[in-house]
Point group: D2
Chain length 99, copies 4
């Protein structure tokens, strides 16, 4: 992987992630407008849930690519790096599950 | 409730919610920059978890105000409205717990 | 409320909750058997997710009844009790959302 | 891996997992007693949250061992198996995050 210009594996879907994150940014602006206009609380909460799900889905996609590329590559390279990568990934998964 | 200028109860913290949502919008832009620059996956995931927690905290605040104002007011007004409000709130809570 | 024999509102579904909790207890025993027999990790994780969802569903049901009975009754009774009940419920919701 | 008597990697912590799952089974029985005795809803919800956290922690532990053993071993063995293992793990993570 070190010889490629795209070290972190998710590059081939970069445009897709950027598009999804721009939509999430738009949802954050939409929420500000809803609060500004004092819209109904429950409607705002519905939007927050949709935005949380969109974020979660981005996170799960990035994590899948991380496992498929960084973790698998480190395992193949041998040495202690694989266990470091697994520990990092497990910690990130724990943060996702608990957030 | 219809005669008050602030029908949904969260108005007295409106500025605080707007500030928090602007910060969340900034986090969404920060994530785009991280993906654009192909930063390390795990660092991006850490930011996604922080953003999810910030959103969750906004949702819990809005829900608390909704219960304290809309649900309590509907209960005091009597009639079937209280049960409708409780059902709506329970559905919103289920969406939050599952998202 | 103190004069009723069923102060906490969920009594009319008590048998249903007990049945669901017995099934959850059975899932916990099933998980022990799976670990004992060293079954495949991913299959164990699937069972853990099913059990978590079953627990979550019990919690959402109890919370709905709590809002519909305790919180609404406290609001109708007037006085500061309603705000105490709302605070308690909001704290319980936050624990559920974060767990 | 097929020649070892402990194919799924978590065996060296088997007793620890069994102990934790027995405690979770006990929590499920405790919840039944609380409902049976019609204890306060919020107290029951607090116990449900504690039990969910305990289950989540078991799941995160098993997942970490799965990544460190099955996924890393499959990557080292080469061939398409690693990608199958990563896909399985990602699906399990998605179920955990969403439950």
């Amino acid at each position: 992987m070190n010889e490629t210009p795209h070290p972190h594996g998710y590059i081939h879907q970069k445009d897709d992630y950027l598009k999804r994150l721009r939509r999430i940014e738009g949802q954050a602006r939409g929420l500000q407008r809803m609060v500004e206009e004092e819209q109904y609380c429950i409607d705002i909460l519905t939007q927050v849930s949709a935005m949380t799900k969109a974020l979660e889905s981005v996170a799960l996609g990035l994590l899948d690519e991380h496992l498929a590329h960084c973790v698998v590559d480190a395992a193949r390279a041998g040495g202690p790096e694989a266990q470091i990568k697994v520990k990092e990934a497990s910690d990130a998964i724990a943060r996702l599950v608990r957030s």
